[in-house]
């Protein structure tokens, strides 16, 4: 079974990659298994300078999901390039660097820097982080802002740019087309839905940031719907994500129209989830009558007589 897929900048030996923010800079899960097994690795968001993020508590569990409000904690782009990326250079797995910021200038600054790293193969523009006061999601819910930001980043970056879309919108297709038009090489979707949980003891939100991003199996139907719609409307590939826990879920994302599939929250429950999915994938594809990744992509709407 041929598992390889080729996306702009990413020659992936299989379509599975960890999602940004759920895999640190690789070291921790590298202690569990050989990171060469992965199709690619998305690292944690980088900003211009170090950020501490939000006060704790930063996570809360919900039914089949979780909320997080990490708030883009990271050591800053320079430190990431010096301290974190060299470890990942030990593997042949392509690296996607997640780019965040509070302003167009900050995004552009970080993107330009990361483009210069020999270890980074593609950028992922995080315009959908719901957990920071400035930037993040405001770019992700306004197509004009998103398109302008994409253009700016494309102008300064030599690497393919994937724009990571927010599901907190009434018109995901409009957003996707706007960033495609602005030059995006691919899309990542979906980021988290904005949610909240209250602590019944105190009556207040559990997260100190009050709201957080909802991820995990709870949001999978929203992700599948959005990818199904967007993949029919754009001509750039999609890295799909949102609630993936097993190889059957991966097939569902491929059928919906994703070309590669990222796993986030599931790493926390099962640190081996990515290699286990990769191992199970050929059998699952076979069981449902597919002989390659390509043959699945977009089958829910493509080449299928309805």
């Amino acid at each position: 079974m041929k598992l390889a897929v080729n996306l702009p900048g990413l020659a992936m030996k299989n379509p599975i990659l960890p999602a940004s923010g759920c895999f640190g800079f690789g070291k921790e899960y590298g202690a569990f298994y050989d990171l060469n097994k992965l199709g690619a690795i998305t690292i944690k968001a980088a900003t211009e300078t170090a950020r501490y993020g939000n006060p704790t508590p930063r996570v809360a569990e919900t039914s089949s999901g979780m909320l997080n409000a990490i708030g883009l904690q990271n050591p800053g782009v320079d430190s990431i390039m010096e301290e974190e990326l060299p470890y990942l250079a030990n593997f042949e797995t392509p690296i996607i660097a997640n780019v965040a910021g509070s302003s167009e200038e900050e995004y552009a600054f970080v993107a330009e820097k990361l483009s210069q790293s020999p270890y980074v193969h593609a950028l992922e523009l995080n315009i959908s982080c719901p957990n920071v006061k400035e930037g993040g999601i405001q770019f992700g819910t306004d197509p004009t802002l998103a398109a302008s930001l994409t253009k700016q980043v494309k102008a300064v970056s030599s690497l393919p740019v994937y724009v990571k879309l927010s599901p907190n919108t009434a018109n995901i297709v409009g957003m996707a087309k706007a960033v495609e038009e602005a030059g995006a090489d691919g899309l990542s979707m979906i980021n988290t839905l904005v949610g909240m949980r209250l602590d019944l003891m105190t009556g207040k939100p559990i997260l100190s940031n009050k709201t957080g991003g909802l991820s995990g199996p709870a949001i999978k139907p929203v992700a599948i719907r959005m990818i199904h719609e967007v993949s029919q409307a754009v001509n750039i590939p999609i890295i799909g994500m949102g609630g993936v826990t097993n190889a059957e879920d991966v097939l569902e994302f491929l059928l919906a129209g994703a070309s590669a599939v990222a796993v986030g929250t599931a790493n926390f429950r099962n640190p081996f989830v990515c290699p286990e999915i990769i191992e199970a994938l050929p059998g699952v594809l076979e069981r449902y009558g597919y002989d390659s990744i390509e043959s699945c992509i977009g089958r829910s709407w493509n080449h299928v007589s309805n």
Binding site: C22, E28, V59, M66, N68, I70, G216, R269
Partner: protein, 256 residues
């Protein structure tokens, strides 16, 4: 080396109000040599609970680890229903644990509150083996919540405080430790944050605190569980409780 393993429930019984002790047997227990480390427990069938629950190692005997847990929400409720012979998936051992190896022949004060008590028992055992003199002060809400008093008595003197005075001294652990600390060399404490704040403020002797925070991964990848360092010149300014902790030198991290 962190293991993921389905360990076997040997026993699971209530030992105090809403408090259970579960014994788990498995190969990974061999690696649980350091008190203060914790076990990240998968609860629930399927993926309804996407997060594991961090629970401290309370004791180890051969290849059996004991964990004492309080029933708080869905995960610990689920745990109470796991019967001997059933399997539970754990990720362990996690965290740094208490630095006990180099401590010999000292006068040690263990201060535990509520479900912060369990890890101190395994620590006390290890410290006793090294010739240290153990004194324990335990705090509970009221009499029905008290557990492990006799276990600590087998290690040395053990004092109990309850908030309402229904058992032992009425009040807080600090009402007891204020008398004891002048004769102590080092303390180790684990419990609710207000208790840790009071203890670290009160005690001028060297000590270590074990912190709690809501966790995602438990292994250092998600940045859910950070705390700030007190040293303004610390290059990072923060520590991850799951990976760099949960044990820290007293007064090196900000307790919030």
């Amino acid at each position: 080396m962190i293991h993921q393993e389905a360990v076997t429930v040997m026993s699971n019984k209530q030992i105090a109000e809403a408090t259970f002790e579960v014994e788990l047997k498995g190969a990974c227990v061999e690696a649980m040599t350091t008190p203060g480390q914790f076990v990240h427990v998968q609860t629930g069938g399927g993926w309804e609970h996407v997060l594991r629950r961090p629970l401290s190692i309370a004791n180890v005997e051969d290849d059996v680890v004991s964990i004492v847990y309080k029933v708080i929400g869905q995960g610990t409720e689920w745990l109470t229903n796991q019967k001997p012979g059933q399997m539970i998936n754990v990720l362990a051992p996690l965290g740094n644990g208490f630095p006990y190896e180099a401590i010999h022949n000292k006068r040690i004060l263990l201060i535990g509150g509520g479900v912060g008590v369990p890890p101190l028992y395994y620590l006390g055992k290890k410290l006793q083996e090294r010739g240290n003199e153990i004194t324990t002060v335990l705090g509970f809400q009221h009499k029905a919540a008290v557990f492990y008093e006799e276990k600590f008595q087998s290690l040395g003197n053990c004092y109990v405080a309850t908030n309402d005075g229904s058992y032992g001294t009425k009040g807080f652990v600090t009402d007891i430790t204020k008398e004891l600390y002048p004769n102590m060399d080092h303390y180790f404490t684990c419990g609710p944050t207000p208790m840790l704040q009071a203890v670290t403020k009160q005690l001028p002797i060297p000590g270590h605190v074990s912190l709690e925070e809501r966790m995602g991964c438990g292994v250092g990848a998600c940045f859910a569980c950070v705390c700030k360092t007190t040293d303004a010149h610390d290059p990072k300014g923060y520590r991850k409780i799951c990976q760099d902790g949960p044990v820290f030198e007293a007064n090196k991290v900000v307790l919030t």
